[in-house]
Amino acid sequence: MNHDVLKDHEARDAAAKSALLVDAMERVLIGQRELVSLTVCGVLARGHILLEGLPGLGKTELVKGLSKALGLSSRRIQFTPDLLPGDITGTAILQEQEGHRSMVFNPGPIFANLVMADEINRASPKTQSAMLEAMQEHCVTSMGVTRKLPEPFFVLATQNPIELEGTYPLPEAQMDRFLFKLEIRQGGPESLQRIVMEREMGISPEVPQVMSSDDFIQLLALSRRVHLPEVLAAYIARLVDATHPGRSKAAEGVRYGASPRAALAFATAAKARALMQGRIHAGFDDVKALAVPILAHRILLDYRARLEGQSPRDIVLKLLEEIKPADISSPSVLR
């Protein structure tokens, strides 16, 4: 853990750069500033993001725009049922060089800073699991050789909530590896009007590069230096713990709660969000704002709760109501 104290001016500079990035990304996803902010926050937190939404909402453009804005390399993988793990990680091919034949590794599309895993739930579980090592370890192993992925490495996966026939829902273990799960919703008429006015069919929006990859890596380093108060860590811990059945009233109907990785995600994302806002410390508001994207896809509801129409988002909102940041009881004689 980096204990260097983040300076205010550093935080302010980081906030300014983050704002530029968000502004640039909003040109891609018009009217979706909150989604863009969360995406940037997730990237700054070095997390992988799962985007869920209907086709045509700009998921692919978001990834492309992000790579352009950050000056990072990006690849797009279209997941299909016949996609093999080697198609992602790369394969060794026999190659003759100077009279010698040798197996030469041909890197797959995963060797990029920003990988877009489009419709990830359409690939087979075997292929999906190939993503596990890459997402968690930032490296791939092929032919017994482990190869490190370029840093920074992010996976932005998308999945379609409809047309579920022939899909393979992501296993809970793989879902847990995504820092955020963001739902892309269609904007209002104003957003659509702007899209119509500013876009043309078949032409990607121009996104300026707002910072170099080094600047971005520096931002990532600054994000780690954001102070996480002890009481906030305790709040995160209580909040994550409360997602488990029997640990809170709000967790009724939950079959499996969030893992410790969720707590780590909270801490990292809260720091990133604080940095985006120019603060040198994370706060309760950061945790509250990030609770749904972090926890919703990590909570598995039981059969009864699903029948009752509850959603993980509802559970998380109840948890925020129940678990107070500063848990001290107040006497009844004080209002």
Partner: protein, 471 residues
């Protein structure tokens, strides 16, 4: 600037901590003291309901209540200290409450500057006065009610007051008054006055019944009633005897029919009648002048009565009624005076004051008449033909040298085998010192047990008859 802010924040934290501690203390003390007040009030009401207990237990209850309150206060202080949050949670609480988003927490941890004091610093810490004053008010009402409720004092005696026995003199007086009430020949108004006097005396507190003054008054009442009853009885007896003697003389004179009286006899007869009238007059005065007079009806009859014209003025029924009234009244006379007996002949003495004179008069008159033929079959003789048998003493007249025996009017006279001149139901004087009721303080006076018993075999009448015989 930063130091000033830090100082202000730390002062605010200390103030919040103290306030929170006091709030926790109040939070526990207020309901507990209300319950304590309720228990004290209930106990107090219970103790006050018991006679004389409040003086004993009231102070102890107050001390116990004060002690319990102190105990509760100490326990609440301990509880408040235990519930008091540590410094950092309190800072976090304040941070969150003020919406500082961990700026205060970070500054407290030495990361970053101290945030500026927000305007809404006091929010969330205002007192809920309703919750504070409601239990206090309830306690005050309960304890005030206890303080103002009266306590039952200790009675002088436990249980119901004892019923005192009415003094003996008073009991005797009541008995005598009841006796007087049973005599319609007495003036019932006077009897009622006596009874009222007796009742008023008994209305006095029972504690005073055996005081000297009460006993003396009761004894005076008893003596007064007793004496008055005895006097009325004696007067009635005298009057009755006078009537009886008058009837005897009249019967004797009637028996003489037209035989002239000797001058001596006339003189003796007049003197005797005067004496009878004087005695009757004296008795009548007594009957009228007493504190317990005879009834006005009886007095009027007696006043209108002429002794020498009894037979002519009174019918047989009136005379019988008068005799009964006097007889009833004469029963009140002391036993040593004998009883009034208009019938006579039962052997009990009823000697009148003029008995000797009457006997002398009858002897002096010397007016004897042969016995009339008896009615019915003779007894002790032989029937010698038709007609009733003669007087039983007819044959003895000459032998006894009696010139003219006469009949005394009496129901039993004709049935006796001999002439009964006079008899009475007078009882022998057995004991003149017989007990006559309580005289002083319940000290009994024992009689002499018949030491004065008369040893003579003859009754006085018999002795008198013998005396006349030997004359």
């Amino acid at each position: 600037m930063s130091n000033t802010l830090e100082h202000s924040w730390r002062a605010e934290l200390r103030y919040t901590r103290r306030r929170l501690a006091f709030a926790w203390w109040l939070d526990r003390v207020l309901p507990a003291q209300a319950i304590l007040a309720l228990l004290l009030a209930l106990s107090g009401f219970l103790i006050k309901g018991l006679p004389g207990r409040w003086e004993l237990w009231g102070q102890a209850l107050s001390v116990a209540g004060l002690g319990l309150f102190l105990l509760i206060s100490c326990a609440a202080a301990w509880y408040a200290r235990r519930r008091l949050p540590a410094e950092m949670p309190l800072v976090a609480h304040l941070d969150h409450q003020l919406g500082l988003n961990c700026a205060l927490v970070s500054a407290w941890e030495g990361r970053g500057d101290w945030p500026a004091l927000p305007d809404r610093l006091g929010e969330g810490r205002s007192w809920d006065w309703r919750r504070i004053f409601a239990p206090l008010l309830a306690s005050a009402i309960l304890l005030s009610a206890l303080a103002w409720s009266p306590a039952r004092p200790l009675p002088l005696f436990h249980g119901s007051p004892p019923t005192r026995q009415i003094p003996m003199a008073m009991q005797e007086a009541q008995r005598l008054i009841e006796t007087a009430e049973a005599k319609p020949e007495l003036d019932q108004k006077a009897v009622a006055a006596l009874k009222q006097r007796s009742d008023e005396m008994l209305k006095q507190p029972q504690d005073s019944w055996y005081s000297d003054s009460f006993l003396e008054a009761a004894e005076n009442l008893r003596k007064g009633v007793e004496v008055q009853l005895a006097q009325q009885g004696a007067a009635a007896k005298t009057f009755g005897q006078a009537i009886h003697s008058s009837l005897e003389i009249a019967a004797a004179l009637d028996a003489m029919e037209d035989m002239p009286l000797t001058p001596e006899a006339k003189d003796a007869l007049e003197k005797f009648r005067d004496k009878l009238n004087a005695s009757a007059k004296e008795a009548l005065d007594q009957l009228a002048a007493s504190g317990l007079p005879a009834s006005p009806e009886l007095l009027k009859k007696l006043q209108d009565l002429a002794l020498d014209k009894l037979s002519s003025e009174l019918s047989a029924d009136d005379l019988a009624n008068l005799k009964n009234a006097l007889q009833n009244l004469a029963d009140l006379a002391p036993a040593d005076l004998g009883v009034l007996d208009f019938d006579g002949g039962d052997g009990k003495g009823d000697a009148s004051p003029w008995e000797n004179e009457e006997g002398d008069l009858l002897a002096m008159l010397g007016l004897y008449k042969d016995g009339q033929d008896g009615q019915g079959n003779g007894e002790g003789g032989v029937s010698r033909g038709p007609g009733d048998g003669g007087e039983p003493l007819g044959d003895e007249r000459e032998r006894l040298k009696v010139q003219s025996p006469f009949h005394l009017k009496g129901g039993k006279a004709g049935q006796d085998p001999g002439i009964i001149i006079k008899s009475s139901k007078r009882a022998p004087e057995v004991d003149k010192k017989a007990w006559k009721g309580q005289t002083d303080g319940g000290q009994a006076v024992a009689g002499d047990g018949g030491s004065d018993a008369e040893n003579s075999d003859l009754l006085p009448e018999e002795a008198q008859l013998l005396k006349k015989f030997y004359k």
